[in-house]
């Protein structure tokens, strides 16, 4: 095993080629020793007879064809883990960088993981109360789900992620067995620092594992970062029965790193230059969310990605959407209106919510409220489009009501502020009050019985101070007449 190969055959971007290598195995780790004695890690990505292509994690700067010694390590990329990793900070390749020394490892785990057998999965049903109305009511987050945030540059996706961590912790058995794994992939120092500070302020830092690959770190390490993070998450969830929330940002940078790497290997590109296997590669990350029958813990993922040019059809958000169980989309226009969180309700979706809400989970009327809110708000968009052509004055009476509803919905329901934590009851009641702005006959998604129970137009009128309303006039008359 201690056989060393002196010199390299070829250096091309992050890849080096060695010849006359014996007994190399696919995906095996190698250690490269530079002239100055420092070592770098690499991984075998292609073997052709005795010719081996190695991807060097820390980059190939200063390597030359003659000054490098290479040693095969005999195992695939592994992450040393133990419960000590909580509270620690690692590099993208899993080396501690907080100056507290190495981990005393309980075991080493292959960072590529293995696919979870569908028959050994538990279908996720337990909802996570995030305290954010637009998420809890309309795109409910379920434990064991993968629910990405589709965002753009300049939008408060980081705040939203922090708020979810802060408020979800509270709801979850006072935070017992709750942990966060945070992976930064190509984000700036400021962003990484913001997360660290926020976790400290929220008092969860002792329950956070951080993997940082900042924007000036080598790209090959970026490809490993989420895998290390998910391996840590799986270890904590499935061996220590913790509920782990994995937040990783930014998936777009990750994909760009993958593209760079792929083109340096000379692979045939698919759409927009991304490699043809981008879907499979992303799936190998996202699919590592879930709950296994053999353990009490769970892995919930909130990947954050910035859509280049706010284009949801760009390959990265597009392929992500096909794998993840829904998405929370942020909208620049709402953000400009000062609405926080600027969740764009219509393109947001949680695929798992249908089985995790309603009687026994949240409240029996939950699905009615959310369906009707979606339908009504979708109609608001049609009316808005019409308004931009004919002007609001020309709208029919009922469409004017919808415009009113739309405004109130954005102002009171979506908008709630960084520090507001709403219970599910508050959220649903607010939903009903908003729906009650509309005439009862418009609420066609709801069973009559439920409608009778919750519809309360007067409350809506008083709460939102609606004017020129027939009902209020009638009431006034009734009062006047004694």
């Amino acid at each position: 095993m201690s056989l060393q190969y002196i010199g390299l055959n070829e250096i091309n971007g992050p890849l080096v080629v060695l010849d006359h290598v014996k007994d190399a195995s696919y995906d095996e780790m190698v250690e490269l020793q530079c002239k100055d004695g420092s070592t770098r890690l690499g991984r075998i990505v292609q073997i052709e007879g005795e010719r081996v292509v190695v991807q060097v994690f820390e980059g190939t700067n200063t390597l030359s064809l003659s000054n490098t010694k290479t040693r095969l390590l005999g195992h695939p990329m592994e992450l040393p883990v133990s419960k000590e990793i909580l509270g620690r900070v690692f590099s993208g390749a899993g080396k501690p960088i907080d100056g507290l020394g190495d981990i005393y490892a309980e075991k080493s785990m292959d960072i590529n993981g293995q696919p979870l057998n569908p028959v050994a999965r538990v279908y996720p049903r337990n909802y996570i109360n995030t305290g954010i109305s637009s998420i809890d009511c309309l795109t409910t987050l379920i434990r064991g789900q993968k629910l990405p945030i589709f965002s753009g540059s300049g939008l408060p996706h980081n705040q939203l992620a922090v708020q979810i961590v802060k408020q979800a912790k509270v709801a979850d058995d006072e935070g017992k067995g709750f942990g966060v794994v945070f992976a930064a992939m190509g984000v700036t120092n400021d962003v990484a620092d913001y997360f660290r500070r926020s976790f400290e302020e929220a008092g969860v830092m002792q329950r956070v594992v951080m993997f940082l690959n900042l924007s000036n770190d080598p790209i090959i390490e970026r490809i490993l970062t989420p895998r290390c993070a998910l391996t840590a998450a799986e270890y904590l969830a499935f061996e220590h029965d913790m509920h782990i929330l994995v937040i990783y940002t930014d998936v777009t940078s990750y994909c760009e790193a993958l593209r760079e790497f792929s083109s340096s290997k000379g692979e045939i590109p698919g759409r927009k230059g991304y490699p043809g296997y981008l879907y499979s590669d992303l799936a190998s990350l996202y699919e590592r969310a879930g709950i296994a029958k053999s353990a009490q813990g769970s892995v919930t993922q909130i990947p954050i990605l910035t859509m280049p040019n706010n284009d949801i059809t760009h390959p990265v958000p597009d392929l992500t959407g096909y794998i993840t169980e829904g998405q929370i989309t942020l909208d620049a226009e709402l953000n400009a209106m000062g609405i926080y969180p600027p969740v764009s309700v219509l393109p947001s979706l949680s695929r798992l919510m249908k089985d995790g809400i309603g009687e026994g989970y949240t409240r029996a009327d939950h699905s009615d409220v959310s369906n009707q809110l979606f339908a009504a708000y979708a109609h608001v968009q049609d009316v808005k489009a019409l308004t931009s052509v004919i002007g609001e004055d020309e709208l029919s009476e009922i469409d004017k009501k919808y415009m009113e509803f739309g405004r109130l919905f954005e102002k009171h329901f979506i908008n709630q502020g960084f520090n507001t934590n709403r219970s599910i009851e508050e959220t649903l009641d607010l939903g009903w009050t908003l729906l009650s702005v509309l005439p009862k006959s418009e609420l066609d998604r709801i069973d009559n019985a439920v409608l009778e129970q919750f519809y309360n137009h007067e409350k809506a009128v008083t709460q939102f101070g609606l004017s020129e309303d027939e009902t209020i006039r009638e009431l006034q008359q009734a009062v006047d007449n004694g």
Partner: protein
């Protein structure tokens, strides 16, 4: 055997140098771990093999073993109620053996070899048998009788049979002497290569619909037994929900559900739901007629390609027994992407968007395995293929959608705008079509009512008319329209919300029999007729809208239970009363 050793490794593709030991599409075992692989190209110098499992840890110089056979599946009792991976390895058994995660190189028998089956032997010594003939029957589940058939292309005289009784799948039940004097032993199973369609005596014309209980499908865009359909739609438009609904409620005898490159949690959901759900016709759990094939997106990519073929081969096997089989493939785009990925690794010249040039021919080969067939043994059965397509960027002009469109005859286009408004099924009535309507006309006229297709036509005219009017409304608002056109818009709303939209979570609305569909159409059209009369007398449409009768009709799908269809008579009275109240 040491001359066949691995030379190069690149992801799931390995090559062997200077050998002629392999044949095309042969199944091989790769490496010391004996990973399953398939030969995909043979050149003088290199033989290229795609490996169905992850190749981490594989070394050049490790042996590659030929098997002499193409990739095959084992067909026999025990397939139903089971869940397999893409190359027919039972996931339950793997979980028992290796825990929650799927390891590489696991070799588990596809079917339980120890289980005893109640076998009724029907063949007799001296019988002349040919391929497809049934020699034994087994109650596989409460719903399905499994028929053991002589393997196609085998022909001869029965020389020995075992008595009826309990047998394991590998026990010899019958021996046949062929014309050449060979003795063929028949057990309860047979093998069949997945990429080769099972032979039939002839293809029959399409004549029966696959009744799904989903209004927009049965009424507007029906699919036939033995037909093909594609469900394209961007993410979040409800492809998987639609597939689940069809798998639950369609009137096929057997369902093969292939989760190809999709989410693990979804397969778990299907597994759990189908165990709990009771088939309304037989009162047995739905799993009794279902087989699941799960190759989730994080499982090895080459097995994703195989999963589609495995599914359709199982379907054909049950068709040969005389059953109507429906296969749901979710999603064929992932399969196409697997082709692209392998093709890229082989450095083949790409055609459109990096997909290989043989994409259309592979798609057509798959969809052509559907059909209503006269089987070798004289029974009739069908394979219906319903494939989901996940177009990149929701753009239907991409290669997989476009090529699929050429080979399927029913096209259910899912629409993002409808999905955003939570209108499910989000099947866009302007872009979707079914070419089966003329083929099925006789069946509908005979088995439902001659009014069914006439009403269907009227409904689609109303929707088409509405689309035209909406162009005007979008520009100028609805107030400018004359009352008769406003009525069309209102009626179209009833059709859209009250008829096409269907609630999969409502106990009655999740499955609607054809009879109820017809009655609902009749009520809507009656409302339209009476509405027109009111407007022709010069009264404004506002008056009839204010009676609330439109809202009442919209909610009839919830208010009339599937068991009490006579309640529909009330609606005619209500409509008449509403109209009368205006005068």
């Amino acid at each position: 055997m040491t001359e066949n050793v691995i030379y190069s490794i690149n992801g799931p593709v390995v090559t062997v140098k200077d050998t002629d030991a392999f044949s095309m599409l042969e199944m091989v075992y790769v490496g010391n771990a004996r990973l399953i692989g398939e030969v995909i190209s043979i050149k003088k110098e290199f033989t290229t093999i795609q490996v169905y499992e992850t190749t981490t840890g594989l070394k050049p110089g490790e042996p590659v073993y030929p098997t002499g056979q193409p990739i095959s599946v084992t067909l026999g009792p025990g397939i139903l109620r089971n869940i397999f991976d893409g190359i027919e390895r039972p996931l339950e058994e793997i979980a028992k053996e290796s825990g929650s995660f799927i390891p590489t190189g696991s070799h588990v028998d596809p079917l339980d070899k120890e289980k005893l089956w109640d076998v009724t032997v029907v063949a007799q010594v001296g019988d002349q048998v040919v391929g497809g003939d049934v020699y034994a029957t087994i109650p596989e589940t409460d719903l399905i009788t499994h028929k053991c058939m002589v393997s196609p292309y085998t022909k001869g005289k029965v020389v020995e049979v075992a008595p009826s009784g309990q047998y394991k799948i590998d026990d010899v039940i019958m021996k046949i002497e062929t014309e050449k004097g060979q003795i063929v032993e028949c057990t309860l199973t047979q093998k069949w290569p997945i990429k080769q369609p099972r032979p039939v005596s002839k293809r029959l014309p399409i004549s029966m619909p696959l009744v799904t209980g989903q209004r927009v499908i049965d009424t507007l865009f029906p699919i036939a037994k033995g037909g093909t359909a594609a469900i394209p739609g961007g993410f979040g438009t409800g492809k998987t929900m639609t597939q689940h609904q069809l798998a639950k409620w369609c009137d096929a005898d057997i369902i093969v559900y292939v989760g190809c490159g999709e989410r693990g949690n979804e397969m778990t959901q299907v597994l759990e739901e189908f165990r709990e759900l009771i088939d309304p016709k037989s009162n047995k759990p739905l799993t009794d007629r279902t087989v699941l094939i799960a190759n989730t997106s994080n499982m090895p990519v080459a097995a994703r390609e195989a999963s589609i073929y495995t599914g359709v081969t199982l379907a054909e096997y049950y068709r040969d027994m005389g059953y109507h089989v429906a296969i749901m493939a979710d999603s064929t785009s992932r399969w196409a992407e697997a082709l692209r990925e392998i093709s890229g690794r082989l450095e083949e010249m790409p055609a459109e968007e990096g997909f290989p040039a043989y994409l259309p021919s592979r798609l057509s080969q798959f969809y052509e395995r559907a059909g209503y067939m006269d089987n070798l043994n004289g029974t009739k059965g069908s394979v219906t293929i319903i494939g989901a397509v996940s177009p990149q960027g929701s753009d239907f002009s991409e290669p997989v959608t476009q090529n699929t469109k050429r080979f399927v005859r029913t096209f259910w286009a899912l629409d993002k705008a409808l999905a955003y408004a939570r209108h499910y099924f989000a099947i866009n009535w302007n872009q979707s079509y079914s070419e089966y309507v003329p083929d099925l006309a006789r069946w509908f006229n005979k088995n439902v009512d001659s009014k069914f297709l006439r009403d269907r036509q009227e409904l689609s005219s109303i929707l088409a008319e509405e689309t035209k009017l909406m162009e005007i409304v979008k520009l100028m608002g609805s107030d400018v329209l004359p009352d008769d056109q406003k009525l069309i818009i209102e009626i179209a709303k009833v059709v859209r919300v009250g008829y096409l939209q269907q609630n999969a979570f409502h106990p009655d609305d999740t499955y609607v029999p054809l009879e109820k569909q017809l009655k609902m159409m009749e009520v809507i059209l009656y409302l339209y007729k009476r509405g027109k009369e009111v407007i022709n007398t010069g009264k404004p449409i506002r008056l009839i809208l204010e009676t609330g009768i439109f809202d009442k009709v919209i909610k009839m799908k919830y208010d009339v239970p599937n068991k009490n269809l006579e309640l529909f008579d009330e609606y005619y009275k209500d409509i008449d009363a509403a109209v009368a109240s205006i005068d």
